[in-house]
Amino acid sequence: MLFNSIDFAVFLPIVFLLYWLVFSKSLKKQNLFLILASYVFYGWWDWRFLLLILISTLVDFYVGKKLGQETAPKKRKLLLWVSVLTNLGMLGFFKYFNFFIENFTSAFTFFGASFQPNTLNIILPVGISFYTFQTLSYTIDVYRKKLTPTNDGVAFSAFVCFFPQLVAGPIERASNLLPQFYKNRTFNYNNAVDGMRQILWGLIKKMVIADNCAVYANLFFNNSGDYSGSTLLLGALFFTFQIYGDFSGYSDIAIGTSRLFGFDLHKNFAFPYFSRDFAEFWRRWHISLSTWFRDYVYIPLGGSHGGKWMKIRNTFIIFLVSGFWHGANWTFIIWGLLNAVYFLPLLLTNKNRINLDIVAQGSNLPTIKDFLKIALTFTLTVFAWIFFRAESGVVALQIVSEIFSESLFIIPSFEGKRLAVVTAILIVLFMIAEWFGREKAYASADWGLHLKRPLRWVIYAIQLFIIFQFMETDKSPFIYFQF
């Protein structure tokens, strides 16, 4: 079920009312109802893949329980491997099977051998990369004795499949989300209203910014051979805002929806396009995944301790894995490598933790130095997104070479310029709103809070009006569903 669909607009109020009016007297019943609602939410897309969520839930619940009882290190390790292999096995099969087969075939052919294996027509289950990582973090934390295993199967199951963040995150840690299923939840008016505000802002990001940008990003990237460097650069810019609006919009809706049910999820985006360097960018972009990789891959590998070569190795590993997590395509791996290249100089010169604050905190405009840093980081980000979005590495290189040719100076030419101008205006207004809201949890968090109710409602209604007037009418799924 898409957040920006009529189905969800009907589903959410029904679940909300039943949750608070019918099931609020019993915590267990409320959790069971959340499981049911989450399975309906997921099964709306394809009920067959509910089995995978169920497998993941059962395996990790029992592995967690056993880890709590077992003291022998070897047996504990074995249990951990059961969880890791189950989750990554499912992920590997559904997401990477064909990629490996195709690349093995290419490698065999390259060395002159003949190898004709069958690839499978595999459907990628929506959100598999998210819920497998979430449940995996539980067993790893229990294995590390950082978390007490749960005996409450219902709460654990609800933690794995909690519908607001099931298919595209934020990837929650058991230490944050699981305890919220243990305690009685009471409805809080301010939390719920703030949740609604965040949902509204998320819908603007997705339906107004991302979906409109998608029209041109798709047009230019899918027919890159037909366009000049200047038009392709425009396409890269549109994609830059598309992916941000799409994914951070999803996260806002997920966090806002969770608040309606009395849950607090972690922030997943913190105005990343205002970052002054790449270390800051990765502290602000897809935070739940970055911190997951930091805690479960980077630190176990030795992190930034050890010698220079170890730092370099670990940085490349984490960015490669991060790229590969996004999809079974070399473009994502190149994108990851590029980010490693951007990040490495900061790490090696110990400048990766200098921009920990919010840029231009307490002031309206950044200093010229900060502005130039933001501009440089943004430009390099746009460049990396070209590889992320292109159909293949070869196409990405063709796009880059076209952008760096004299056709960069030709006035962009394409069909639908009028709406492209409208989209550009919307992006500018959106980024202004983001800039002035960068010290808040989300840009519109305090809009109208100091005003009387009728005026505050006018502000909400204006946002709805903007959605209705500018939303893209061809519904498109969230980009991160495919990951």
């Binding site: 009529i6 608070w20 009016l21 009471t186 409805f187 809080n188 008016y189 719920a192 209203v193 009028r418 709406l419 101008v421 409208v422 205006i425 409602w457 006018v458 909400y460 209604a461 204006i462 709805l464 009006f465 209705f468 007037q469 500018f470 939303m471 009418t473």
Partner: protein, 308 residues
């Protein structure tokens, strides 16, 4: 129920009608005062191609014709009423932009009795059986009268641009507002001729190439098409189905042309002029799927031969 929840639900129940009212008033003001450049999801007369307004104006002066043309832009840009007049047939072209069977029904209900055609040439472009018909509904909403049938169709299509346009059109009707007082007979390179026909001055020599593709037909459009044929049968009209020529490059890129041909043959007399005529992509078209005047002349000559 806690006080907080009670207050939240009460507030929400008040906010919903408030926001609906706000948006309705907003749409009317938006339509009146905001330049067309930025009215993305609100259609206005000046923004819709196809000269439907001129066609409707001509309809008020027309009674009883020999031939009625129905269909998409391939109809209103492909059947030159002047050439049919020269051949001795009075005719009216009721084609409109991307007209799908859903909108054809509305037009038939409104104008069939008045025109009483002996023959209906129904242009069937496979693409109009694969789309939801939003563009054509908008065309009717801004250019023709609002009635319960059109309202039903608009609600069935469930599209935000249709809702916005519907509200704005009702507001205009209510306050007797006209979007423009002068009906233009020329828009860019298109000329509205008479009796519904639009001629284009453009000649294109562009080369087209396409990846293999297929039409994704919608069953509701075929169902509606059958109903339209029933309406025509009841009106004692002879019906000929015609697929107008499109460029070879575009036509050959579709893999399910044969399926469509078989389907159309099962309904009525059907001619697919992509298979019957040899036209040149760069000489006879002004874009990848519309004939230029040179192409129209050849195409119409062939049709006249078939109906004689």
């Amino acid at each position: 129920m806690t006080n907080d929840l009670n207050y939240f639900l009460q507030s929400l129940l008040k906010f919903i009608p408030f926001s609906i009212l706000f948006c309705v008033v907003g749409i009317c003001l938006w339509g009146d005062f905001v330049p067309n450049l930025i009215t993305k999801n609100l259609a206005k007369k000046e923004m819709i191609p196809g000269f439907m307004e001129n066609r409707i104006a001509d309809l008020t002066k027309t009674k009883e014709v020999d031939i009625l043309f129905l269909g998409s832009s391939h109809a209103y840009r492909g059947f030159d009423t002047r050439l049919f007049k020269d051949a001795g047939y009075s005719s009216f072209n009721l084609g409109s932009s991307n007209q799908t069977p859903l909108q054809t029904e509305i037009l038939l209900q409104r104008y069939l009795k008045q025109l009483q055609p002996k023959l209906v040439i129904y242009e069937v472009y496979p693409n109009t059986f694969s789309v939801d018909g939003v563009e054509s509904t908008l065309d009717l909403l801004v250019n023709d009268k609002l009635d319960s049938n059109l309202l039903k169709l608009a609600l069935k299509q469930n599209d935000i641009t249709i809702y916005n346009t519907l509200i704005y059109s009702y507001y205009q009707n209510l306050f007797q507002k006209e979007q423009s007082t002068v009906i233009p007979f020329q828009k860019e390179e298109d000329n509205y001729i008479a009796n519904g026909y639009v001629e284009s001055e453009v000649t294109s020599s562009k080369k087209y190439s396409y990846k293999p593709q297929e039409y994704l037909f919608k069953s509701n459009q075929f169902d509606q098409f059958e109903k339209n044929l029933e309406i025509l049968k009841k009106g004692n009209c002879k019906v000929i189905l015609i697929q107008a020529p499109i460029t070879k490059a575009l036509y050959n890129s579709y893999s399910n042309n044969e399926f469509f041909d078989l389907k159309m043959k099962s309904y009525a007399t059907y001619f697919n002029f992509n298979e019957l005529m040899e036209l040149n992509d760069s000489l006879h078209f002004y874009d990848d799927h519309h004939l230029n005047q040179k192409g129209v002349a050849l195409f119409n000559q062939e049709i006249i031969k078939k109906i004689r």
